[in-house]
Symmetry: C2
Subunit: 212 residues, 2 copies
């Protein structure tokens, strides 16, 4: 696919067909994705490609409690209302084990240079060495006709996930990527995002919208 | 460009021509990049497009002290040796103000759901809502024939950068992207990365290399 066509048509897929994904296809995606940048080119990324059904069910079982806690908080904050999008995400969570591939993406914490740990706000910069790689995988899935969804909810159960998948102590879990062929009947119709005029500014944050 | 061709040929560009970058080109990149995923689709990303020469010089001046500290630590750790790649990055740092465009990428901290803040390790998950967008920008630059470099070093001077660019308190600085046309004579010849067999494993981390 052409790059911008891929970028602008990669939704979060919530509903999947059970069909398995050929290893060659996953390999091709990873083989392109590994060219992402990382701090000092240390490439701390590792991917556990989980297709075993028992493991996927255990991952789903670990996923549900933190997911449900998150939903409760969101619903309470919305005065008891459950949005359509939340209902869809909830159905995704309940059926996570049915998605044929779980990519558990990890990163070697020792490979990260964290430059924002003394600013009195949550640190995010470690993510600069892993989520560009993750975005490459998401775009690669689109290129191969696969749907995918990124979720970081399972990080709340990182110790249990590391035990389950024999992930060494020095690695952090960055996300779970659900990957499979989308259920075409329940494919999201459009990707809703803010316009450039709302997100980009000229020279300073208060310098007015950046225009073409 | 075809997606995998773009992904596998996007190096970190250290040397730039001074030529300005047309606004239409930057706008086109951002217009594709904004389709990235983010937690709850909250799209906390904002970009300050800095082309003003005085501001770029001030950003370079803020960049140099933390960069030099980092280099000192690296060189000490390597027993006094300065690698070729470090020399190149050092030259990049000294000439940062000459790169025609600085994209200062910020994110609304309130838009982040941080699920890895109680694990006794550095948190990275906030980055999942901003660095996919950043990777889209890097690939978009490649698509437009532009070179680019991501650096998080300037986050060490976040308060000063926020003052300089009038960035509101609730935003964190995620990175600076240097963007411009590459100096073709000093273009990196290849992108060196680990093979898939070294980074992907089957079902568990100790399950052996993931093969096609």
């Amino acid at each position: 696919m052409e790059l911008y066509a891929a970028m602008t048509t990669t939704p979060t897929t919530r509903f999947y067909r059970p069909d398995p994904v050929p290893s060659e296809v996953l390999h091709r995606i990873l083989d392109a994705a590994r060219h992402a940048p990382s701090g000092g080119n240390r490439q701390g990324w590792r991917v556990v490609v989980v297709t075993d059904a028992a493991l996927r069910r255990k991952l789903r079982d670990l996923y549900l409690p933190p997911w449900r806690e998150y939903v409760e908080r969101l619903v309470a904050r919305a005065g008891g209302r459950r949005s359509r999008s939340l209902e869809r995400s909830d159905e995704f969570a309940e059926h996570l084990h049915d998605v044929p591939v779980h990519l558990v993406v990890c990163v070697d914490v020792g490979a990260l240079t964290i430059t924002d740990d003394e600013l009195g706000r949550p640190s995010i910069v470690g993510g600069a060495s892993i989520y560009p790689f993750v975005q490459n995988i998401l775009l690669g899935c689109r290129n191969e006709g696969l749907g995918a969804a990124i979720t970081t909810m399972l990080c709340r159960r990182e110790p249990e996930v590391k035990d389950l998948l024999a992930i060494p102590p020095e690695y952090a879990m960055a996300c779970l990527l659900a990957v499979g062929y989308a259920d075409e009947d329940r494919r999201p119709s459009k990707i809703s995002r803010r316009d450039v005029s709302e997100i980009a500014f000229r020279d300073t944050f208060d310098g007015g919208p950046f225009e073409a």
